[in-house]
Each structure stands twice: as C-alpha cells, then as structure tokens.
C-alpha cells in the first residue's frame, strides 16, 4: 500500500450554531481544509455523520455536501459508526489513497444536534434498542455503569473522574474553537446536576453542532504542495459486543485495545513512543478506561494516572490537548475528524497556548456506542 499524508485541515467552532445549517457548517470546514492544503480539486469525499436523519430529518448527505461544496460529480458517501463515524470516514479515505485509486480526497465529519430533536433518544440509537434502550437506559447511564464497576473493581475515586473534566476544560480554555472553554474545579464537577449516578453534567460531553475536515493525499501528490506533511503511520479499527451487559469485564473496552494494537503494529511504534493523544472522552470515565486500553498506564490505574497529572498538557503523555469532547464539544459525527485536525495542528507546532512540547507522534482514538466500535490512527510529522 502507498503512504498517505494529511495535507490540510479545517473546522468550524463547536457549539450551538443556530444561525448555520448542516450544509453551511460542513462547507465552511471543507473550504478551510481545501484552502489550507492549497489543492485545486478533490477526487472523492467521505462524510462521517451519526444520524442526521434523526437530528434534522436529512439523509443522503454525501451527495448533499458534494453538491454544496461545488464538487457534484465526484463520488461522495456518508460513513456511519455512531460516535466514531468521523474516525471511520478517515479510515476509508486512508484506504482509498493507499490503494492507489485516488490522489487527493476530502474526509469530513459533521453533526447538527441543536435543531430541536430529542438528543437523548437519538444518541441512544447507538445502543441496543431492544435489550438496552427498551429498559430506559441512556448513554450517560451506560457509562455510569462502567464507572460504578471501575470504582468497585479498582478503587477509582469520584475525585479522579472529576480530574478528567478539570484537565480537559483547562486545555480547552486555550482552544478558540471550543464550545465550553471555561475552567472547572473538582468541586464544581462533583456537585453539578446528577445525570446518571455517579456521573454529573460536568462529567459529560455537551450537545454540539460542528464540522471538521481534512484533505488526504498520496505522498507523490503531497510533495508537490510544498507544505508540512503529516504522514499517516497507522490505522486500526475493531468491534466488541454490541450491548455493554454482554461483556465479560464491564470495565474493559476491548475494541479500543484491539484497534490500538492494530494501529501500533502498522505504525511500528509502542505506546511509549506516542507524544500526545486525542481520545474519546464522551464521559470522564471513558478517558480513564481508554488510556488504560491504549497502554499509557496499567489496567485499573487510569484514575490515579490522571490524578497525578501524567496526562496534563505539561505531563509525560498529554491527553486531549484540544480540550477533548468535554470542553471542545461533541458533534458526534465530526468528533473523529476534529481529533485529527487537532493532531495536525499539534504536529505542525501551530497549536498556540495548548501546544504540546516536542510533538512528533500523535494518536487519535474515536469510539462508537458504549465501546462496540473503535478506531485509532497514528500520525507523524514528515521531515
């Protein structure tokens, strides 16, 4: 397979973008990415989006976005894997270039969640409708049950969960695209409105609108652009039992572990080689489980690892320098691509006050449902 580079990136601000439509925000992010890469065309397009049908009653958005981007005629398709739709779109785009079929393509992600739909219901469609949702469980509820099990099995504390939100809001305060850039304290997180015990609203990522896009190119095409090239070193994806209750260990995210293993092997790197990571902190407990599965710390130690500041911006392995889903916002289909936008900016040394020192290799991890699907990518600055 051929080597693939990310040559451009762009995103909208994340938040309640009431004056802009789904197509408006996608085109805004796409144009930013195209202008950033200085490309004069794209061969095809992948659009990650979880459920525009439920959020705004619009399906078939591959063709819609190609039309409004002024590129009707190119192949364009929507990719769906719940909250990791964006990351999976990236993986398909990667293979289209790697296979030799195309030279320059656009991978985007978009979601419009604040137009009035029942968001709790729409998101819950990523869980088992007949055997989870039927009984009244919600996504915060599923992650709350993971949190309870993790606290019981490993002694993870309420404060350690809160420290994830405190850290990510601290990082997000430096991100001009973040929906909630303000800092929060441990006390504020713990005493916020309870959503599903033990998780409060400040353990939970927000409801957001937003879009993010990247331009991928073959190394041949990329080298003609005379811009810093970010090489894709590895791509891994995996699945797990669909229902949380069917897992042998409720605290394990096996799809995350398997997708990371595949990406590490392809990239020929170890967890200790990673300089920073953007991970799927849809709830505080998720980041704790994910950093364990990525091999940044031992199983069960994610809470204390976070409390000790190891994942802070100045720590040995900064996690979510962008502010993560918690502070930056979580327009579900856009999230996986926005993680890549942040990684590109970090590797270019263009992340301003949230710049990770010596950022050479970055990892993105994007997850669907309660962990039934996960996708990991590893990137490096091409010298």
């Amino acid at each position: 397979m051929r080597e693939v580079a990310v040559v451009g990136c762009g995103m909208t601000k994340f938040g309640e973008l009431w004056s802009q439509s789904l197509r408006d925000i996608f085109v805004e992010a796409a144009l930013k990415a195209i202008d950033d890469a200085h490309v004069d065309h794209i061969d095809s397009m992948y659009v990650g989006s979880m459920t525009p049908g439920l959020f705004i009653g619009q399906e078939h958005i591959g063709a819609l976005m190609a039309d409004y981007l002024g590129t009707a005629s190119i192949p364009a398709v929507r990719v769906e894997s719940a909250c990791c739709s964006g990351g999976m779109a990236m993986r398909l785009g990667y293979f289209e270039i790697a296979s030799g079929h195309s030279e320059i393509i656009l991978v985007g992600g978009v979601e419009k969640m604040t137009d009035g739909a029942d968001v709790t219901y729409a998101l819950a469609t990523a869980a088992d409708q007949e055997y989870e949702v039927y009984h009244g469980i919600t996504f915060p509820g599923l992650y709350a049950m993971i949190a309870k099990a993790h606290m019981y099995k490993y002694g993870t504390t309420r404060k350690q969960l809160a420290m994830v939100s405190v850290k990510n809001h601290h990082n997000g305060a430096f991100n001009p695209n973040a929906q909630f850039p303000g800092e929060v304290t441990v006390e504020q997180v713990i005493n916020a409105t309870m959503v599903a015990d033990p998780l409060t609203v400040l353990d939970s990522s927000p409801v957001s609108d937003g879009a993010a896009c990247v331009i991928l190119a073959s190394m041949d095409a990329a080298s003609k652009l005379q811009i810093p090239l970010i090489k894709v070193l590895g791509s891994g994806a995996a699945t797990d039992t669909f229902a949380l209750h069917a897992r042998e260990d409720i605290t394990a995210l096996k799809a995350v572990q398997l997708s990371a293993k595949a990406a590490y092997e392809m990239a020929k790197v170890m967890p200790t080689d990673i300089n920073f990571a953007e991970v799927h902190d849809c709830f505080s407990i998720a980041e704790i489980c994910i950093i364990e599965e990525l091999g940044f710390t031992d199983k069960g130690k994610g809470g204390s690892f976070t409390e000790q500041g190891r994942t802070a911006l100045e720590g040995p392995i900064p996690v979510n320098p962008s502010g993560g889903l918690k502070s930056k916002g979580h327009p579900v289909g856009a999230t996986g691509v926005a993680q890549i936008v942040e990684t590109v900016e970090q590797l270019r040394g263009a992340a301003g006050k949230r710049q990770v020192k010596n950022a050479r290799i970055g990892l993105t991890q994007n997850m669907g449902g309660s962990g039934a699907s996960s996708v990991v990518h590893i990137f490096a600055l091409q010298k």
Binding site: H135, V195, A243, H245
Partner: protein, 129 residues
C-alpha cells in the same frame, strides 16, 4: 413502536426465553443464529433463571421522553444464575438500597406506554430479594 417489532420480542420479554448452544452450551439471550462462543448454529430453547445478582448499576435522572415520568429510576446489569447478563430496571427500592453483588429476582412489569394511541410495553424488571 410498530406492533410486529414488539410482538417479535415477546418470548424474551414475557418469558425470558433463551437459546442454548448444542455444541458448547453457551446461553444466548436473546437467541442468535450463530453462537458467539464457538460459531455453531444449532440451539435448543431454554429459559433464563429468574434469579441473579447485580454486577453494576446506576440511577437515571435525565431520561428519554418515554421514561421521563419515571425519574429517578434504577437500571442495573444483572447476571442471571445461569450466567446470562441483561440490562434491566431494579424497582420497588430506593437508589441507596442498590449494591454490587446484591441478589435480585426478575418480575413481570409494565415498562412504559406510548401515549394515547400507542401500545403499552411490558417486560422484565428486577426486585431485590
């Protein structure tokens, strides 16, 4: 919910019917066409034990529309005595009564109703014993 979709799940929701793999003995709930343990395709019908224990739990305070009139309510992952795990509400108790490891039994209850013209949805819930 369209009535055919509701009707299809009645054996599981009303009677806890499950499938047992003839090859390896793994129980599937709901029944599947392919055993998730060994890949075999032959099953015999059986039932979940109506006794089990709580593996983890939460109390839902922000609910989807169909469940809004029930908050706060408890949801747990329960392991039945024959090893199958399900997501279920735990009722007739307070949130602070729940603990990991506590024993429960399944009971037949109304789960929610779909407004003026919709159907009334029934199924299993758990109670502490």
């Amino acid at each position: 919910m369209p009535s055919p979709r509701y009707h299809r799940e009645i054996p599981q929701r009303y009677r806890l019917e499950a499938a047992k793999c003839k090859e390896c003995g793994r129980m599937s709930f709901p029944p599947r066409r392919v055993c998730s343990n060994c890949g075999a395709r032959e099953f015999e019908m059986t039932k979940l034990s109506d006794h089990g224990k709580i593996l983890t739990y939460t109390t839902i305070r922000v609910a989807p529309k169909d469940f809004e009139n029930q908050v706060p309510y408890n949801v747990a992952i329960v392991e039945s005595e024959n090893g199958v795990r399900v997501t279920t509400q735990v009722v007739d108790c307070k949130p602070e009564d729940l603990e990991i490891g506590k024993r429960v039994k399944f009971v037949f209850r109304k789960l929610y109703s779909e407004g003026h013209t919709g159907i009334i949805c029934y199924g299993y819930k758990a109670v502490l014993i």
